[in-house]
Symmetry: C2
Subunit: 454 residues, 2 copies
């Protein structure tokens, strides 16, 4: 008779690994399937030198991300404050300026030198946006009348109605593309309700990018794996999940496996790639068709030194330049090297992906040079992580809902289907799109399995 696992976990990203680990700690026998040839999913690091590490996926952590902080503490992984010595650079409509402030959503520090009227337009709209956002419940948005109204609009519509200046409009469009809780999305792709709720449940005001991790977040998956003495099958995608009153059967191209429960720890779109017997409820099936991953590539660019600091610059920039709207200093002081993390997002990605690899590099460096000067043109390494090209992730940072989806299909987001439970940062109620959200959903799914197994 075939071995029967207590729980099979589909997907060895952070949430899958945490779910497996927690179940194992509770004495359960687990098996993890991963379609790719590595564990960690979007928690992915790379050594670019013996003592230098870059994160091709997520990298930051903030003070209210309790569950991620607890994980770091548990594995004794030290953190350091995200470097922010010096001035931030803003390039708006080709005008470059340095200032002691920052904005990504709400604004901090000094205001940049944009015409008073345009800045006030953005600030006033931000206040309106934030108040509306804070009025929402922190739980998954319910399908009440107020939410339905918000969900029936795109963020672009709200921007159009609430800003009067080009800068005001760009301020929110930039936020929509750059803020982590979104896909990211262009404002006309995403539901206003999604953006408002994201700003509440995964708020920039809580500084989720306050700290970085020595040697990178990408070191974490292998630490969890070390603890997991159970099986992890790499390169083995789950194709079919069959369940009845007695248990679950999981089918891959390599075999058929039995378990009492399954946790599917993947973005909803990917969970929808699996065939289910009996089929998922229709609302859950259709949610998987309506919760797309963002359009974003992450770029890690390293230099001999963080050369910008000698110029009094923070290595942080934002602006409406042709390719790069945001970049941040990600240099680990232990290495002494300079590392910039940046993104090519939304419509910029669409234009960029048509370029040759060599053009992709040169246009990004040329944009960076506008912010940081000619030294930016000579990196020691240049790494591209093109998440939309990875069919086992499908995009980055995470997933967003187009208009009308939350209030019609959102109810099914994390509802167990008999013996199948769901995890993954996309379905988190708090810190969706962040590592912290991935952990929360994994802990909840593991707990639910334990409870069902009693």
């Amino acid at each position: 008779m075939a071995h029967r696992y207590d729980c099979i976990i589909v997907g060895a990203g952070l949430s899958g690994l945490i779910a497996a680990r927690n179940l194992q700690r509770a004495g359960k026998n687990v098996l993890v399937f991963e379609a790719q040839d590595y564990v960690g999913g979007r928690m992915l690091g790379k050594h670019i030198a013996p003592n230098q590490y870059i994160d091709l996926g997520g990298q930051w952590v903030g003070p209210t991300q309790d569950r991620f902080l607890a994980l770091l503490d548990e594995y004794n992984i030290p953190r350091f404050p995200s470097p922010l010595q010096g001035k931030v650079v803003l390039i708006y409509n080709d005008k470059r300026q340095e200032f002691n402030g920052f904005f990504q959503g709400f604004a901090e520090g000094d205001r940049p030198n944009v015409p008073e009227e345009e800045w006030q337009d953005a600030m006033k709209a931000w206040k309106t946006f934030d108040e509306l956002s804070q009025s929402l419940s922190p739980q998954y948005p319910e399908a009440n009348e107020e939410n339905k109204k918000l969900d029936s609009q795109t963020f672009a519509q709200w921007i159009q109605e609430n800003t009067q200046t080009d800068f005001g409009r760009w301020y929110f469009a930039y936020m929509c593309r750059a803020v982590g809780f979104l896909g990211p999305a262009e404002p006309d792709e995403v539901s206003l309700l999604h953006v408002l709720w994201g700003n509440k449940s995964a708020s920039q005001a809580e500084h989720p990018e306050a700290e970085l991790i020595h040697d990178g977040a990408g070191q974490i998956p292998s630490k969890i794996v070390t603890e997991l003495n159970n099986e992890i099958h790499l390169n083995e995608a789950v194709v079919k999940i069959t369940q009845d009153d007695h248990g679950v059967e999981v089918t891959t191209l390599k075999g058929i496996y039995q378990a009492n429960f399954v946790i599917v720890a993947m973005p909803p779109y990917l969970a929808g790639k699996i065939t289910y017997h009996p089929p998922l409820p229709p609302i859950k099936q259709q949610l998987a068709q309506r919760f797309p991953m963002g359009t974003l590539a992450k770029l890690l660019i390293s230099y001999e030194t963080p050369f910008w600091r000698s110029q009094g610059l923070a290595g942080v920039g934002m602006g409406n330049t042709e390719w790069i709207e945001l970049f941040a200093d990600s240099s680990d002081p232990r290495s002494g090297k300079g590392v910039l993390a940046t993104f090519v997002m939304g419509d910029r990605y669409h234009r960029w992906i048509k370029l040759t690899k060599s053009e992709q590099k040169s246009v990004v460096l040329s944009d960076l040079a506008k912010y940081l000067g000619q030294q930016a043109l000579s990196p020691t390494t240049f790494d591209i992580q093109d998440w939309p090209s990875n069919q086992w992730v499908g995009g980055g940072y995470a997933a967003f809902m187009p208009p009308g989806v939350w209030t019609r299909f959102g109810q099914s987001i994390n509802k167990p289907f008999n013996r199948i439970y769901w995890a993954g940062t996309e379905i988190a109620e708090r810190w969706a799109g962040f590592f912290d959200g991935a952990i929360r959903t994994a802990e909840a799914a593991a707990e639910a399995v334990l409870k069902s197994a009693e």
Copy 2:
């Protein structure tokens, strides 16, 4: 050495069957995989009595659907005019009326008795809508500036801005849910550009529901299969497609098959369920996440006789009642029985799917009785085809694009990927969402394979 097919076809819906047949007629050796236990997909019939047939999927054909008409002629399948003897019933805000007209998009015949101001509001907006629609190119929408503007809005936005009355708003919302070229969708889910283009490339003004098919459209798949002397594998979903310069390898849970080319003849969302090596280009991958199937169940309700005719009614109704917005007489004169085809769409579907099976039936009949009288409460058969519950179809009628998708991801809709070609009504340039569109894409894909094989 394994047998090598000239072409493997994934999906035995109408487009897959036509592609297979055309390739076979050209002397090619083909193999068809179908995940379900029947061929035809949404071309699906059922005998409810020895001489009575209902179509659980598509059923109509119109005078400019050349390719579908040619198919019917080829197999000597006779048609008859869609029954429309008598008056149409409209129930608007609980007021019932009979009139000699119809509207689904543009209006025909007499106008219904709604306040002049409200009717003119709808008619004026329709003129604006149709003119804008006709100004588009009939080809797949390009990503030009004008289209980007249209694509950045939802249809709900356009309705809000172009109608002033409740009736005017309902007129367009009803059209959005009821017209075949859409998912269907609620107006806030769908791109304005998608709706406009659909109205041009698959126009109600061409009367695509002018005729019905004796013994149903559902008889067609088996006729094609009879001609196909090659293999069709039912219950065998394709899991993986690997290709290189020399050929293609198709993997299912039952085996691995070799071919020179593959045609994937499925809705884009389902095509995205397959794993590809090398992976699909990122824009194509992300399109599969952004092109959802509509939320719709089809209901076929039969009666001893078309009883409505003796009351001078056409068996066609529309209105904003609680469950049913549109139904049509689908009685085949050969059977002498009465058959109504109706749909539960969009938000109505969401409410309806939560009911028990018996409630689902009773609320629909009770709605129908409001249109046609008490006799409607006593059908002889009542069939529900819940397309969103079918994981190998995913919804009905077809797929729609949310805002921002056409102009960002639409370019990849039918672009071959080396040895892989695409078919299916969702990706048709003409008559998308109809059988005719399915045939057109199949013919084009088969032709492209033949050309590549030269």
